[in-house]
Amino acid sequence: MTGEPIEAVKNGIQVMISSLRQNPQAIETAFISIITFDSTARQLVPLTDLASFQMVDIKASGTTSLGEALKLVSSCIDNEVAKTTQEQKGDWKPLVFIMTDGIPTDEWQSGLDEFRKRKTAYTVACAAGSGADSNLLKQITENVVSLDTADSQSISKFFSWVSASIGVTSTKVEDAGKEVSGLGELPPPPSELNIVT
């Protein structure tokens, strides 16, 4: 990701953090980690509570090591998301948001196999711009959001939607207590996004 899209992502994260930092539920409960992937995948920010989170400079250019990123997020989940033990309460299942504007250039299937072994509350993949392959992302998660153009406005809308889905709201009466999965359970995305079904 280069140029306008990456700037928009940076800005989107910044806006998202500042909006979450105005939400007492989020401050009470949310931790954030950032992983970037281009020619390699790196964890830029380890899992950090919102109050201490400091934004770092995100760079992504060249290739798209999606497989490596999926492996890395898997091992980060293993190491940083606390499991409930006899002694101590663990963390809730993580929410994973994947943003890409390209097609994976590595052997990504093995990364996906690793990632699938981890439980997430939900995973949302965002295909930004015409270069991204939303069909491919559909293999990672059924929740794929496609931004037709990776311009700053649509990316910032994606992030404001992400912020809303992290906030806590009243729980609707459901016919039976199902696990939350699938985009139908989240606040609806802004109309400018297209959900691939």
Binding site: S18, R21, Q22, P24, Q25, I27, E28, D49, L50, A51, S52, K83, T84, T85, Q86, E87, Q88, K89, G90, D91, W92, K93, S160, A164, V168, T169, S170, T171, K172, V173, E174, D175, A176, G177, E179, P187, P188, P190
Partner: protein, 505 residues
């Protein structure tokens, strides 16, 4: 750019409302919210299509219920404790509500101690129900000027309890009481219940929500896996409101959740959460079962000092509230019928304010505390002892001609403390129906020339029974250990019996 749009009322033909649509409404759990151009009201559209029942329910809410709550004596008071919808509108197939905007004092004047992050934002209850936001080491703490003092939260809880009491008296249940649906203002000791549109009339309109996490009653959570129409499935109702009310009062006074402790009920985190708040819910301060006590080493430092239940136990809230917390979180936790009702909370909170003492330490964070019946009292929050003798007044009522019985009501005296009609006469009940006349003090206590005195301002028949002397209006009577005062010889008039605590400091 925002464009101004217009919608029509479905109740009042020809009546329209304008709102500004910038394409990015504020999103609630079920509604999209738009401001009026002058911001005097909002129009909130349901995202889901509302069925016939729902339309009928909302219509009743803004007509019949509105009238019965507000267009009668005492209605003005209730207008201040609810943010009640005033009209129903329709745009195509979308149904919306017209709701007045919140009063100015429900928006942060300063917000965070450092930075402008939430200045001007709504004072959602959670900001004030969590220890973090008042911990001086926490980066995103609230400014001291926003926090009020401990007494503020008693007044706030009284208002919330009254709001719930009135709903229940009308046969309604809120169904989603939580710190998200109550705005509070500790600075002005004010509270208002919002999101009234989920109101449930038992048997007539079913609830749309099971509630907000942290406030959902155990019986609702433990039956939510059942089908909607299963007779064993428990829904939000008056009794689940009473659970939510108890949780809220506990949180506003103690800044921690009464059921979130260290006990592990399942190795699956989500299931553990469900069990710990549902089927296996257990009071963290249960007197005989300590298995759910918070584990201090596992909690963030920012949750201190309130997360330490051994240092700041719930008994700090005094005997009347302790009894109700026991009833709500021990006997009534899994037996909804045993939960204290809103009126009991209101009365216990008010009586507790009569037990409160100002802390002598101007730097004390709480500034007030509840007298703990000890002979050498000190502030439990900062440890500052009370200086000098402390009069404790126990109230008695006439049972038979010469037999007087205790009211289980005590008034602690401090300098410039007022005496009111509701102390003097048991026929005057301290509630929202008090007249302006009844809110005027009838006397006051003062530390004067190294003595405690009561100055009589309005009592026609105040009498010092110990010295057998009338105390006329405009004069004072000394408050001494063992003295009895007749406050009024009218029907319902009380006697106070004086005990001096802290005699030797």
């Amino acid at each position: 750019m925002a464009s101004i749009k217009s919608v029509s009322s479905i109740i009042h033909p020809g009546k329209t409302y304008q709102y500004a649509d910038n394409g990015e409404p504020m999103r609630g759990g079920m509604k999209d919210v738009y401001f009026a151009p002058d911001k005097s009201y909002v129009v909130a559209f349901y995202r889901d299509k509302q069925d016939f029942n729902s339309k009928e329910r909302l219509t009743k809410l803004v007509t019949q219920y509105y009238d019965s709550f507000f267009n009668r004596e005492g209605g003005e008071y209730y207008k201040s404790i609810y943010c009640w919808p005033t009209d129903v509108v329709q745009l195509g197939t979308q149904i919306g509500l017209v709701v007045p905007t919140y009063r100015k004092n429900f928006f942060f004047a300063k917000g965070y101690a450092t930075g402008e992050g939430i200045k001007g934002k709504e004072k959602q209850g959670l900001w004030f129900a969590s220890a973090k936001f008042r911990n001086k080491q926490f980066a995103l703490r609230l400014d001291e000027s926003e926090l009020g003092n401990w007494l503020s939260y008693f007044q706030i809880c009284v208002k919330i309890a009254r709001g719930v009491k009135r709903l229940h008296a009308a046969g309604l249940a809120h169904s989603d009481l939580s710190y998200k649906n109550v705005l509070i203002d500790p600075v002005n000791r004010d509270a208002t219940i919002i999101d009234i549109d989920g109101l449930v009339v038992p048997g007539l309109y079913p609830p749309d929500v099971i509630g907000t996490a942290d406030f959902i009653a155990p019986e609702v959570l433990s039956t939510k896996h059942l089908a909607l129409r299963d007779p064993n499935r428990k829904h939000a109702n008056r009794l689940t409101d009473l659970h939510a009310l108890a949780v809220m009062i506990y949180m506003y006074l103690l800044y921690r959740h009464p059921l979130k402790g260290g006990k592990i009920n399942s190795l699956d985190t989500e299931e553990d959460d469900l069990l710990s708040m549902g089927e296996k819910a257990l009071f963290i301060e249960h007197p005989t079962d300590a298995s759910n006590r918070p584990k201090l080493g596992q909690l963030p430092k920012s949750a201190l000092p309130w997360s330490d239940v051994s240092k700041l136990p719930y008994t700090l809230t005094g005997p009347y509230l302790k009894a109700l917390f026991d009833q709500a979180f021990i006997t009534g936790l899994h037996h909804p019928n045993q939960r204290p009702n809103a009126d009991m909370w209101e009365q216990a909170l008010l009586k507790t304010t009569d037990l409160m003492q100002p802390c002598g330490n101007t730097l004390c964070d709480q500034k007030w505390f509840v007298f703990d019946n000890s002979s050498s009292p000190k502030c439990p929050f900062c440890g500052t002892p009370i200086k000098g003798p402390l009069p404790v007044l126990d109230l008695y009522y006439r049972f038979k001609d010469t037999v007087w019985k205790p009211e289980n009501h005590r008034l602690m005296v401090y300098h410039n403390q007022y005496l009111f009609q509701w102390h003097v006469n048991r026929n005057v009940v301290r509630n929202e129906r008090l007249t302006a006349e009844q809110k005027v003090p009838v006397g006051y206590f003062a530390w004067f020339n190294n003595k405690w005195v009561l100055v009589n301002q309005k009592l026609n028949s105040l009498k010092d029974l110990t010295e057998d002397k009338q105390v006329p209006i405009g004069s004072m009577v000394e408050i001494t250990d063992g003295k009895k005062l007749l406050l009024s010889n009218e029907e319902g008039g009380r006697i106070v019996m004086i005990t001096m605590a802290n005699k030797h400091s």
